[in-house]
């Protein structure tokens, strides 16, 4: 099977949907002629033309507001917010407008749109261009939130997001853009609200999202080869809707739960999942659930410092090994 990068998967996913449906339009800062600051939209302007792929001013409120107005009246916009940190300057749309219009209007107003954004750390950009803001989005009723970890998931989940009738926040991890993965030819459409068991195991469940997925997989290899601990690694993929059935089934099998989260500790997605497991699967557990997160601090710029704070395969190995007492 051919391999492509996560970055090229973004391009392919958008192109697949724009080719399928003329109502899919795309807007953002530097996304058209320049091909995106992460080069994740190269060629779309040339392929689909200036009416469908549009450069905007540095006006995040205008970008998201315009996407909403277009969505309400019949288009299926994809809007790019360059860095997810910038959600803070257009949060009204994410928190107040997209997710509440349908409810407040008693079902009259539709809002089928996708907000793509570069999320997460690893680029040494410092505290305002590196955050993992999935928890900002997860807490808002009315939104859907996905964060793919592999090229094939980028295409499939992006297609599902574009075809979904609700507003979807699509978190691309900046540190994954250059990574490669196998992608079959032809149309790829996945389902929102589905987690994926990437590695079956018997001794412990490790839940991870986005950049933390390859790190959890690397940790699982070491835990197995060096410590004889057989971990099941589950890529959560979709925070809303949340595939609790896959998670609960895994915990029922392994009896131990670890979450690996890039977001700062308080109110991270893992806390919600641990709470669900505590409520519904407490007697399946052989030990306390453990959250492995970035500490509750702003992110530093320096590489040596940033590398310390993000969960690493080594930290995951150490935490799981100690918790299991081996």
């Amino acid at each position: 099977m051919p391999e492509i990068t996560y970055r090229d998967a973004v391009i392919r996913g958008i192109a697949q949907e724009m080719a399928r449906d003329n109502d899919v339009v795309f807007l953002g800062e530097d996304v058209a002629k320049a091909g995106g600051v992460f080069k994740a939209t190269v060629g779309l302007y040339e392929q689909f033309g200036p009416l469908r792929v549009r450069d905007t001013p540095i006006s995040e409120q205008a970008i998201l507001g315009a996407a909403m107005g277009a969505a309400m009246t019949g288009l299926k916009p994809i809007a790019e917010i360059m860095f997810s940190d910038f959600f803070a300057v257009c949060f009204d749309y994410i928190a107040n407008e997209f997710p509440k219009s349908r409810y407040m209007s008693n079902g009259q107003t539709k809002c089928p749109l996708v907000v793509r954004t570069g999320n997460g750390a690893g680029s040494r950009f410092g505290a305002q261009h590196s955050q993992s803001v999935e928890n900002w989005c997860m807490m808002i009723p009315g939104l859907k939130v996905v964060a793919p970890s592999s090229p094939v998931d980028v295409i499939g989940l992006l297609a599902a997001a574009v075809r979904d009738p609700d507003p979807v926040i699509f978190l691309e991890h900046k540190s994954l853009y250059a990574t490669k993965g196998e992608v079959p030819d032809g149309e790829i459409v996945d389902r929102l609200g589905t987690a994926k068991v990437l590695r079956p195991g018997r001794d412990a469940t490790i839940l991870a999202l986005a950049l933390m997925v390859p790190r959890a997989l690397a940790a699982a290899d070491v835990l197995k080869s060096e410590h004889g601990i057989d971990c099941e690694v589950v890529d959560v993929r979709s925070l809303v809707p949340l595939d609790t059935q896959t998670i609960l089934a895994s915990v029922a099998k392994t009896h131990r739960l670890f979450t690996v989260e890039e977001n700062p500790r308080l109110c991270g997605w893992g806390a919600e999942i641990v709470s669900i497991v505590a409520d519904e699967a407490f007697y399946d557990l052989d030990g306390p659930p453990v959250r492995i997160t970035t500490p509750h601090i702003p992110l530093p710029a320096a590489d040596v410092l940033e590398d310390i704070v993000l969960p690493t395969p080594e930290r995951i190995v150490e935490t799981v090994r100690r918790s299991l007492g081996s």
Binding site: A70, P77, M104, P241
Partner: protein
């Protein structure tokens, strides 16, 4: 810098000489404009009375005194044109023909309301009438109106998106983002600033660097400086027609500042004691409905015709009030409907 009191003296538009019932507006449209303004006046007054009886709950922002703006712009619209309103949006909703009963029902938080009590006074929405929502976060809907206009531009549809907001909105970022965006993309959107001289409780002049908070910013976006007498529905109507024609012709957005005055406070909680003595009275002399009634008479419309409209509007509002009073409260089952497009609220499996 002009004070709010000075602004009351701003020379406003006048009826052009020689105009009459058979001018460009015509008798049928004038009677519709009169009826619509009166319908808003009576419904808003009724909403106020129903507060006092504790039958309208929560907050409420009335357009008493500002009826000519909503009416003039709505009467110049075609079917399919889209209105984007603020939390002071009862007038704009009614002006598009939404039944009084649906609006009062929502204000009274009854099951017969426009959104069955799920939205409330600040979020009136009736897409079938082109009312694409009332937005309670200042400035939020200006970019949204741009998006609807973008869809029209992209699809080759000829509808215009019309976005109403107050003078206070001109000092929030989304206003400036939307104006620039609309101008750069040449979108068929019309921005209507209702300058009622006060941003909530504070005179707009005290917090704004220019005298006309919208019009004086138009040049920053390459747009014409347009100020209209917002208490003269004919002037508003003509201004709207011109802006809509420009939008439909593909010539881009307009920004219009309509000078008007709010007869009541900002919201239910505000007795408006900050207004200088005599200001309200001065503006009441230029009450849009009074002006319009006199104009109809001047143009030869009979007292009888006017009285008949008055009576039928009052009956409509009275009947709506009774219907709403008898309507049931919304059932708890609707609490979890329409969070997502599948009709439900499930966030997990």
């Amino acid at each position: 810098m002009a004070t709010a009191q000075d602004r009351a003296q701003v020379p406003l538009g006048q009826v052009s000489p020689g105009s009459g019932l058979n001018d460009d507006i015509g008798e049928a449209k004038r009677l519709a404009i009169y009826r619509s303004q009166l319908r808003i006046r009576e419904a808003e007054q009724r909403a106020y009375d129903l507060f006092l009886q504790n039958l309208v709950k929560g907050t409420s922002h009335l357009s008493l005194g500002q009826e000519a703006v909503a009416t003039g712009f709505a009467e110049a619209m075609q079917k399919g044109d889209l209105s984007f309103c603020t939390y002071r949006g009862h007038a704009h909703t009614l002006a598009r023909g939404v039944p009084v009963e649906k609006v009062l029902g929502e204000l009274m938080q009854r099951d017969n309301g426009l959104m069955r009590g799920k939205g409330g006074s600040m979020h009136l929405t009736s897409e079938e009438h082109g009312v694409m929502g009332s937005y309670a976060i200042i400035g939020a809907h200006l970019p949204i109106a741009c998006g609807a206009a973008w869809r029209a531009q992209y699809k080759g549809d000829k509808d215009v998106s019309v976005c109403f907001f107050g003078d206070g909105t001109t000092n929030i970022g989304a206003f400036h983002e939307a104006l620039n965006f609309a101008a750069v993309w040449k979108l068929p959107v019309v921005f209507v600033c209702e300058n009622n001289l006060y941003m909530e409780y504070t005179p707009i002049a005290d917090v704004t660097a220019v005298e006309h908070p919208a019009a004086d910013r138009a040049s920053a976006y390459g747009l014409e400086r347009i100020i209209v007498d917002g208490n003269d529905a004919d002037a508003v109507y003509r201004t709207a027609q011109k802006a809509y024609a420009k939008a439909r012709a593909g010539d881009g957005p307009s920004l219009i500042e309509a000078m008007t005055y709010r007869h009541s406070g900002h919201s239910r909680a505000d007795p408006a004691k900050y207004r200088p003595e005599g200001e309200l009275e001065k503006w009441k002399e230029r009450d849009p409905i009074k002006i319009y009634r006199e104009r109809l008479k001047q143009f030869g419309v009979s007292e009888w015709t006017i009285a008949e409209i008055d009576a039928s509007v009052r009956k409509e509002v009275d009947d709506a009030t009774e219907t709403c009073k008898a309507a049931p409260m919304p059932p708890a089952e609707i609490l979890t409907t329409d969070v997502y497009a599948d009709g439900g609220w499930a966030w997990r499996n």
